[in-house]
Symmetry: none
Subunit: 419 residues, 2 copies
Amino acid sequence: MKRTKAVLIIGDGLADRPVPELDGRTPLEAADTPNLDRVAAEGECGQMDPIGPGIRAGSDTSHLALLGYDPFQVYTGRGPFEVLGIGMEVRGGDICFRCNFSTVEGELQLTDGGFTGATIADRRAQRIAEGTHDLAQAVDGMKIEDVTCLVKESVEHRCALILRGPGLGAKVSDIDPHEEGKPPHLALGEDEASKKTARILNQFTLKSWEILKDHPVNTQRLEAGKLPANIIAARGAGLAPHLEPFAQRYGIKGAAVVETGLIAGIARYLEMTIPDVPGATGGADTDELALAQAIIAMLEDHDFVLCNLKAPDLGGHDSQPEPKIKAIEKLDNLVAYVRAHAPAGLHLAVTADHATPISFGDHTGDTVPLAICGPNVRPDSVRSFGERAVVAGGLSRLRGSDIMNILTNLMGTQEKYGA
Amino acid sequence: MKRTKAVLIIGDGLADRPVPELDGRTPLEAADTPNLDRVAAEGECGQMDPIGPGIRAGSDTSHLALLGYDPFQVYTGRGPFEVLGIGMEVRGGDICFRCNFSTVEGELQLTDGGFTGATIADRRAQRIAEGTHDLAQAVDGMKIEDVTCLVKESVEHRCALILRGPGLGAKVSDIDPHEEGKPPHLALGEDEASKKTARILNQFTLKSWEILKDHPVNTQRLEAGKLPANIIAARGAGLAPHLEPFAQRYGIKGAAVVETGLIAGIARYLEMTIPDVPGATGGADTDELALAQAIIAMLEDHDFVLCNLKAPDLGGHDSQPEPKIKAIEKLDNLVAYVRAHAPAGLHLAVTADHATPISFGDHTGDTVPLAICGPNVRPDSVRSFGERAVVAGGLSRLRGSDIMNILTNLMGTQEKYGA
């Protein structure tokens, strides 16, 4: 019962549909992928529904499922995962909000009956693009009662707010009135815990205005004839779920070699190791060998490494077959390096988190191909790695949530269920 | 991201087992079906478990699953769906009963302690076959407190009762004593809402007797020496579930071109459009081209059309291979018409709601074949439409509850789950 290690490589958005310009082949079928084909030929193949048949997965819900966390149980809404996506650290129990930097006109006051004295003149502060980092910094870390308020800017006028402290609930209404000419809405909580959240959030809103209205970024905007971004209008409260850390769930040490903030955020949430990979840009120009080297380095003191290569997804979103093919060939190159430098007995799985078909330009619910090679698999008749070639494989049709069980079974690290 | 439309054609009871008289072929394998084979050849195939592997589906539970409503969640018993099956309109919250027209002898009285003064002489009123429509009409629409009592006859002595009104529960015992020589049972409710139902039901039972005992149908029966059908004895209370309408669940407009009351009832429950199709008899003589024309007409202003052709099921129930083969060839003809007249870009799926094998004469839990063609599928190697041919297909093995997700994915109308 020797234990082995495993690597799970995700080609982001890898799967596709037949492309007329490629003579009806998919980009994966058309790409030159001798190393992926070797994994398929030496291993066991199948098709996989990241979430379930036909369901259009996001990268967040899919990676949760691939790591064995049922998104239908733990994904309470985009809030907490969007906050992860912009690189904030989220903890179970955090109340996460999507926010706008908005413009209010007047002298804002907070009374028991609501906000008065000022109205929202522009919900997006003229889509402010510069200076939001400084504005976020000015209010980040504010303490109200026993709650810490964490703020980080996102793109344009968007930012995120986390309320972190004991006894907070997420059933709280929006500050953002969702229309202009109105004062900010008073946040109201449904239950005791959410009433506390509402009280803190209303205070935060007032105090953020007090700090932001005279901030140098806004003084300069006013001088330049622009609207100030002088209030943070929160909406879409979401409770960050308490997820069992990866190591605790599986009894093995896991790392994530990934390129996007959203997936890094999920891995951090599960307390996996996330190495910094210079050269991993998340773009078409990414250094795939840097990712491969990071995987090999992580394998030294980890049992399991997840790797996500973002580039294939970009070609899909842009509806460009050639960049997608080139990205897939980078994936092939990455796999070649890992296999050449892997410790003996490694199990290697290659799959995708969802399809991003050239013809559709966004994620679809089609199956993705899956191949697993290593000493403990039962090799099948499949000889190449493609959406249709793997259909005949020994793994048949699986779900993303099955993968960790299958890998820990092959690794010999899984506890027996029963006697 | 162009949206397309879809048609889901169900051959009722289509799937089968090898038949010795057909040299071990199934009726579908033996039938001449060039158009079904073309769908399979151009499309993607697989086998489907309508409810789950090996589970013997009814037409009601199967169609609920095929439309994406989990029967294990929403099917609270036969009551509400039997009521649909005899053509009554059911609404979420209705309390539905299966009833008998029975014979009581004596002068019925309702006291706090129960019904007295009369006993059930025949639970089935000598299996009364004629006049039940008039009897049902005589009590249909009765108002008791704020509840409306709706009654409709079914076959022989059977009828159905719906109690419709606010605050009703379904945990109520039967009026029918299930044996003769006893008075009707006093209905009792378990909780507050069901106590209200019981109170109304007891009143309804007394009042139905008061109206029916002197009804001309019964006067004539007495004159002819027959037992009168002078009371409605209810049993098997069931709460009609609140189902999210089809359009709300999927964000698309759906129609159902169907032949049987039960399936029409389910579609009506989901607020789908149900066109009248002259020539659709539900029998072996049905005009399949009238069904096909109705599908094409519905596609003009609907995104999705479900069609059920009943005839294949009849041959199965009768254990007659030849009528089943002929019915399957009608299905082939229907598909030919739809494909010839379909709008560009249509996705067409063909499958069954369950198997009704010649050798068994009733529904079985075998898988059913599935083929889907259209612009967004990944064609596979299957070249004919049959129970065994589709096994090698790209869809592998699915469940009925996956179909709507798969179709809305192909149609490009499904919302992404996650980011």
